[in-house]
Amino acid sequence: MSSAGALPTPSTTPRARGERRLGPAARASLSIVCFVIGAVVLIPLVWTLSLSIRTGSDVFSNRLLPHSFRLANFVDAWNQFGLGTLFLHSVIVTLGTVAVTTALSVTAAYGFARYRSRVTEAIFLLILTGLMVPPAAVIIPFFVAMTRLGLYNTLLSVVIGESVFALPFSLLLLRGYIDTIPVELTDAARVDGASQLQAFRYVALPLLKPALATVALFSTISTWNGFLLPLVLLNNSSTSTLTVGLSTVSSEFGALNLQLLSAAAVLAIIPILVVFVAARRYYVQGLSAGAVKQ
């Protein structure tokens, strides 16, 4: 796993020469550029936040800054759009997917890392091709299969779908990580009389915690943000997941109740951004490890 991925901690080492060579004027203008670009990028988020606290009339007041303050928008949006159900379903689907993906990928990654043969290597590469399959391309047979299995309109069908798309990346990441664990460690456990499964469970698995955190984070984000699978596999948007529910709210209420739509959007944004920012170190590690290994 690449150590390059870690977000740098505030630098305690002396600055590299290249940057010290920039004059004060150059540094000041680059600072300004940083702030300007950053501010422009944040506009959609800030604007939505500013709409979410306005009264209905203030939204259409042609004013750029809010002239009203109404926190009740969040309560109204929660009740009117049934956000409680949508949140609950998103949480269930996400937890289910994280559990299935992590369990399947960590066992398989261990197998692919420790028992290498032409056959296992070919299977591994085949599963990796799953990385490039656009979900829309297989949604039809997937929908038919779920209907035939009697799983249509169940959260389980979404869990299965999200898991299968999260699997290749998790496998790639975990196998790369397992390769860095010395074989001697598990071999020693075998010599001491542990079964292959025990060696995996009690020796390898505890060492894999950071990589498992990365895998869990990636499947959390991709599932929480997933849209096509719940859109197709669940038949009622008001009892679907948050993304599908919000898209319906946006098309039905977007023009009329901009402040409530914005409040709903803000409520949906907060939890995922909290997780995302809090776990950014794992995200960046996974990103660079995945990109380097592919």
Partner: protein, 280 residues
């Protein structure tokens, strides 16, 4: 023993659907009733060739993939270099770039609707504050502008991805080389041109392919932001496939669109080997 569960899961729920959709593309199946499947030969592919909307969707998809790939790199790499200078404010920029990555494309679409819609921020500014025009600009309603809006929203969401990958690449840049170049009298721009960029070439090759592969997957953002409209002006292969399959129930025909998507994604993935080969 360890690999069996994941392999079976993958085979049943991904490999099998890929093969099934290829078979379905040769049927004239309409509706989702299994008793009504009939062999259609290459009929669907002949229809694809004469479908004007499909041609548009194909062109828009290629434009989407090409423009986002180019734009993400043209913005992402300079931003990564900017952050790597560690000037005051680089942390602010990095966080600002990073946040959109965590959002669902659905939320991205909603945010941009609120900024660019008829009552959005930009139209408030242009119509009521600056009085530049009396009618709102149809960023989403004007067929000539809608695709640009979609591209903008997508680049907004994913620039942080490229920034992070390039930034990670820059951390492993050997400092001695930069110092040697500096001692030899190379200015900041020359060091960038002759040391940093050549060093990043393999990273650029990987990132470009990741962007290409990601581009073919677009669906959510366009489906929510414009629904493929107005008048198919932002229709891409995936939104057209969805409409054909789940609105019009033309399952066989939609499957042939799926085969086209898989073929295009495969070509991009094969390019990876060539790009990486050139770079090393």
């Amino acid at each position: 023993m360890f690999i069996a569960p994941a392999t079976a899961f993958f085979a049943f729920f991904l490999l099998f659907p890929v093969l099934a959709v290829i078979l379905l593309a040769f049927t004239n199946w309409t509706g989702f009733n299994l008793s009504q499947i009939g062999w259609g030969g290459v009929g669907n592919f002949k229809m694809l060739a004469h479908d004007a909307v499909l041609t548009q969707a194909l062109i828009h998809t290629v434009i989407f993939v090409a423009v986002t790939t180019v734009a993400l790199n043209l913005v992402g790499l300079p931003v990564a270099l900017l952050i790597n200078t560690k000037v005051v404010g680089h942390d602010f920029l990095r966080i600002a770039m990073f946040l959109p990555l965590g959002l669902s494309p659905v939320l991205t679409a909603i945010l941009w609707q609120e900024v660019l819609g008829p009552y959005g921020l930009i139209n408030e500014l242009v119509v009521h504050t600056l009085h530049l025009t009396s009618t709102p600009i149809g960023f989403l309603g004007n067929p000539h502008l809608a695709l640009i809006t979609v591209l903008l929203a997508s680049v907004w969401q994913y620039t942080g991805y490229n920034m992070l990958l390039y930034y990670a690449g820059l951390q492993s840049l050997p400092k001695e080389r930069l110092e040697a170049a500096a001692i030899d009298g190379a200015g900041a721009l020359r060091r960038l041109r002759y040391v940093t960029l050549p060093y990043l070439r393999p990273v650029i090759a990987v990132v470009v392919v990741l962007n290409l592969i990601g581009g073919w997957k677009v669906f959510d953002l366009i489906y929510v932001l414009t629904g493929g409209g107005p008048n198919h002006s932002t229709e891409v292969l995936s939104t057209y496939l969805y409409e054909q399959a789940f609105t019009l129930n033309r399952v066989g025909y939609a499957s042939s669109i799926a085969v086209a998507i898989i073929a295009l994604a495969t070509v991009s993935a094969l390019m990876r080997g060539r790009l990486a080969g050139e770079a090393t």
